[in-house]
Symmetry: C2
Subunit: 404 residues, 2 copies
């Protein structure tokens, strides 16, 4: 054995710690716990029969292709389906397949983007709060987070402008602004077009890239579909990330990056060294599934199911939650955010919730500055079966009421 392993870890590894959230999540896997933690899609949305058929066809007709190495850029058929049948016609995004690179789900997209842009000490602007996996991907390359608070329309443009101006005066420039414009994780908040345009204008003014992460975009229950940052720009200022994890299944590990070709070229080089290629087999299943036109019907079912679940959640909150507890009603996605009265601490209450056989994720985990957001928590409503949602809320309400 090496004499002192601690001395030879990279700076990156020295900063890595077992995630508190991961440890907490492990506790929530007991079968009698109703878990609003995690971010899992409902298995009822997986199109198992159709996928099995597609798989069998592929194994009969193109097995040698899918079992072999694939190209680093990704399955050409899948890229075409996404570009020519989704992003260009439906989203007004001015791109070709050269602008879209398949990644090992959107987590790898975050990782590779950090890898090609971040040097230790570089700054990245993020929402307060924001997706935890984004924070850990960026931190692994030594990035420092600059947090901007949200309001009901997402990241506050006024605070963003102040911060960019302040940084400019200090001779600093963030590598990018990380936003989750649709049904943000963890808050469930969606940016309206006005906010998007303001943030885009600031990005242009201060010459900063925008990283738009959009895993839940297609899961909209109501309200108006908003344009992507990418479509509002169509001029290379925006990098957009997508994934099948929430709209088809996470087990395929397929995501993608859409960006200027100068950026996708670098991502290909980085990905080549990181994992050579994403699973060709699951890429081709997804491509054929899209080609058969099976996605839109299935997605309707998913949206209907999650909308029903969200409604049950909100109704149950209204019925059971004590005075002083408030929540966001999201127009789509998988999550909603809850605020407890200022003096309450969701981390301290977590073990009490577990005793009541219910779980959530503590809100402070999503804040780049962990000292804030102590009185918040994230609730997932996609995974728990419909008939258990009300009971879960009841248990949670009891924990809060007993500890007010």
């Amino acid at each position: 054995m090496i004499s002192d392993l601690k001395q030879i870890w990279s700076e990156s590894a020295q900063g890595m710690q077992r995630s508190v959230i991961r440890e907490l999540l492990k506790l929530t896997s007991q079968p009698d716990i109703i878990s609003f933690a995690g971010g899992l899609p409902s298995p009822h949305t997986f199109p198992k029969k159709a996928l099995k058929e597609v798989m069998c066809e592929i194994m009969d007709n193109e097995a040698n292709f899918v079992l072999q190495y694939g190209t680093t850029e990704g399955d050409q058929l899948l890229r075409e389906r996404l570009v020519d049948h989704q992003y260009r016609p439906n989203e007004g995004m001015d791109i070709t397949t050269e602008n879209l690179i398949i990644t090992t789900a959107s987590q790898q997209a975050l990782d590779l983007i950090a890898k090609i842009f971040v040097n230790r000490g570089d700054k990245i602007i993020v929402g307060l709060p924001t997706y935890l996996g984004g924070l850990s991907a960026f931190r692994a390359y030594g990035a420092e987070m600059v947090g901007i608070e949200l309001d009901d329309n997402g990241m506050r443009a006024d605070l963003l402008e102040d911060k960019l101006e302040e940084m400019k005066k200090a001779g600093e420039k963030p590598k990018f602004i990380y936003v989750i414009p649709d049904f943000q994780n963890p808050t469930g908040i969606t940016m309206d077009e006005e906010r998007r345009k303001k943030i885009l204008a600031l990005a242009k003014k201060y010459d900063v890239l925008i990283l738009e992460d959009s895993p839940y975009r297609e899961i909209r229950f109501e309200g108006e579909h908003q344009k992507t940052f990418f479509a509002l720009d169509n001029d290379g200022q925006v990098i957009t990330i997508g994934t099948f994890s929430k709209i088809l299944c996470p087990g395929f590990r397929i995501g993608w990056v859409i960006a200027d070709t100068k950026i996708t070229n670098k991502i290909v080089m980085a990905k080549q060294a990181a994992d050579l290629c994403t699973t060709p087999f699951t890429q081709r299943i997804a491509a054929r599934y899209l080609q058969k036109g099976l996605m839109s019907e299935q997605l309707k079912g998913t949206v209907a199911l999650y909308k029903q679940k969200r409604n049950i959640m909100i109704e149950s909150f209204e019925k059971y939650m004590p005075e002083g507890v408030s929540w966001v009603k999201p127009e789509g996605g998988l999550f909603l955010f809850m605020h407890l009265p200022e003096h309450m601490d969701s981390e301290k209450l977590f073990m009490k919730a577990l005793e009541q056989k219910v779980a959530y994720v503590i809100g402070s985990a999503f804040y780049a500055d962990n000292s804030i957001g102590k009185n918040t928590l994230r609730i997932n409503f996609s995974y728990v079966d419909k008939d258990k949602l009300e009971e879960g809320v009841k248990r949670l309400a009891k924990v809060f009421r007993d500890n007010m």
Copy 2:
């Protein structure tokens, strides 16, 4: 568009360049070219029928599990199969499932190991020549390569000792020694036990980790199965990497790292931020395939096929190659290495070979110091169909003879 993208790339991205090899490989994909380039397994070795059956069973019985997120550590069943039914009983490796983490093929293992150990400017000891994908994974984190020449038994222990001593005197220590002990890529050379023991002893003396990469280990045509570095040590000095890419299929993207739990713990944290988990679907297919005991028969077929191919290659070399050309006869694996007379340059001859409709990989690509190895080339014998091997060699021999 951002004003100057070049200014905001990370140092890592600034160092990334489109690989010459990749560009050359693209030229070799025309159908009339007999390509000894690339490193693809033969599609004839893919157990298509058996895999289809296993997939169908999984979709019938455990679809919700395989389509959902998996754990970062990997499929527990697969880890057990590898540990309890392969490495412990057959390889004498003293490990539990805690020591084995599934990765998105062995390329990700190389990436994550670099991530947890390498700071910019750190040194890594590699063979001259060595696997190109190893070099690019390490370089992406700013590692500097220290090359040690090989002889017929692999990395030279005497030169390694000199180098370690020299570095010690300079107050330096490499992060690890990267070796491919079995049928090395690109040379096809295997280290005997004596060499392994010598290198291990040096690693212990100088307190340096060994990174043992073993993708071809199971593909042995003849000669004695050698103990792994890990088994010779069993004391935490060695990290071993394995993969299904060459023995089952590359399209599943499954590899693994075996190491001390302090190291596997860090890898799990790094992987969590890099891609959350490896495709659960293909992991479970592999696990069930192993559980059914289907691997060993199939592997016999692969070994027999590749042995036949190697033999045809060597016989054709003997028949056609001009005086002054020499080659390694590998005891297994997918590659062999060729030396041309000193004055010849395989890169300059590459385009002439393409004109003759035959391709290879230039040897200098595998040298950490690209200025050497100009007169070498790597030949892959696994991919090209048996009945085309002799014709390919004939064409190649003509190119060399015409340019002597």
